[in-house]
Amino acid sequence: MSQALTVTDAFRHASVMTRRNVVQFKSDPGLVLDATLTPVLISVIFVSVFGGAISGGTADYAQFFVPGIMAINLMIVSRNTGVGMAVDFNSGVVDRFRSLPVARSALLSGRVAADALRMLLSLVVILACSTLIGFRVHGGLAGAAGAVALLLAFGVALSWIAVCIGVSVKSVTTVSTLTSLWVLPFQFGSSALVPTTGMPAWLRAFADVNPVTLVVNASRGLLDGTPGLPSILGALAWIAAILVVFIPVSVMKYSRRS
């Protein structure tokens, strides 16, 4: 349909849209707080409350838990990607963008890119603060960078799922609910908060193939200096699969919705 547009155009349009969303952060500081203060508080609370009970010591639990909270926080941040999409649709500004000779994907990928920046900030802040509660990176700079990159890629995949919900459902409140709801089983039925070994068999079967488990396990390995290829490959496969499905579906729904 957009035969006259090149890939370069699409990138340029997306970067302009990214800038728009970053400028929005200024008028809505809650978006940045959500990505930084929230996970840090959750980490401190979880580690102090559950640490002793689950792992026998808060430092041990921190070592286990920090990669988990990083993944969970990506899910929290991705919620706003969907909500922002719905807000755009309801404000009518989408009609302007869709009547301009601009790549159909630009508004969506621009928003995802801006939220990837929030996610990156979030990951770095969690990692920095987690040293205060006893977390240590044993994998060196390469391990830390690898874990952050993998988590960020997963975050981008999550954002596309949220975008898809945001362009498919009209009500902002419903989008907010749905984007929070779908992640719940994946958050808790995973190795993010507790090891899957203690789970009942049926739950464990789910948890072991859950992308959150694979991403968290891979990140743990990278941060601890014991990278595991199966979990890394499994995580990458999930990320690729999500992107391949949700990007085209989102763009199509965005273009078609009236």
């Binding site: 349909m1 302009v16 849209m17 728009r20 008028s27 009518g92 009609d95 009547s99 000779p101």
Partner: protein, 316 residues
Amino acid sequence: MNGGGIRVEALTKRFGKVHALRGVDLEVRPGTVLGLLGPNGAGKTTIVRILSTLERPDSGSAFVAGHDVVRHPHLVRKAIAVVGQYATVDESISGRENLYLVARLLGLRPRQARARADEMLELFELGAVGGRSAGGYSGGLRRRLDLAASLIGRPGILYLDEPSTGLDPHSRKELWDLIRGMTHEGMTLLLTTQHMEEAEALAGDVVVVDGGRVVAAGTPKELRSRIGGQMLHVRLAATTDLAAARAALRAADLTPVADAEENVLRMTLTRDGDLTAALKALAGGDIVVTGFETRTPSLDEAFLALTGAHGDEEDL
């Protein structure tokens, strides 16, 4: 600069059970202004949205600047700019950022885009509020920002969907001046409105739509003459049955349009004997007439007569 024209043929569009368009034909010649006049729900916005590539027609065809809106939407988008019925400004960023954003999307480099944004703020007298969040703008400011954003790319074809709805009379006059200023540049303009006055102020040609159909077309002058030189207003006592009086007038071959709120019947007088016929028709039975007046129709009355007559057909 000549932006090309618009040609619409047999356009239909349904939303579920609602037939928004039932076969619309219209043409806007390059460099002219067409007023698309019709009451709420007539289908004006649907036409504009199809011509903006925001909606696909069910059948029929629409060409903008020579490009098919369904087959080559991207080329259409390059030729047009749209000011929708509801403001399409980004409320979360400032007015200046809104304009900068559109300029960048249209391919201007950062420096050019900034200059163009400032130029438009100046032109539309938004300089003082340019740095403020657009979410806090009044209706008039929002309209102006919307218009400024649409004109950034110097479009050859512009759609304005009910541009003055919701504006106070002063802002409306200001907006008209702005629009008149723009049309001197040879731009093709499609303007929708509910007010004949606005159509006449801005448009050389008018197409009247109602119920998803074109019910009349011509210059404002032609439309006025078509409904005759004179209008008759018959005011009835509250106790008198409006429907009965209307039936009596219809029997006398007149085409009354009822205004139930005011208990008034309006009709055009096209033939010499019409006034006498109306008098005779009302004299029979127990119709109590409290006012009987002939006048030259106002433009809005001309419009009401054109669309109301059609509405009556559908009642039967």
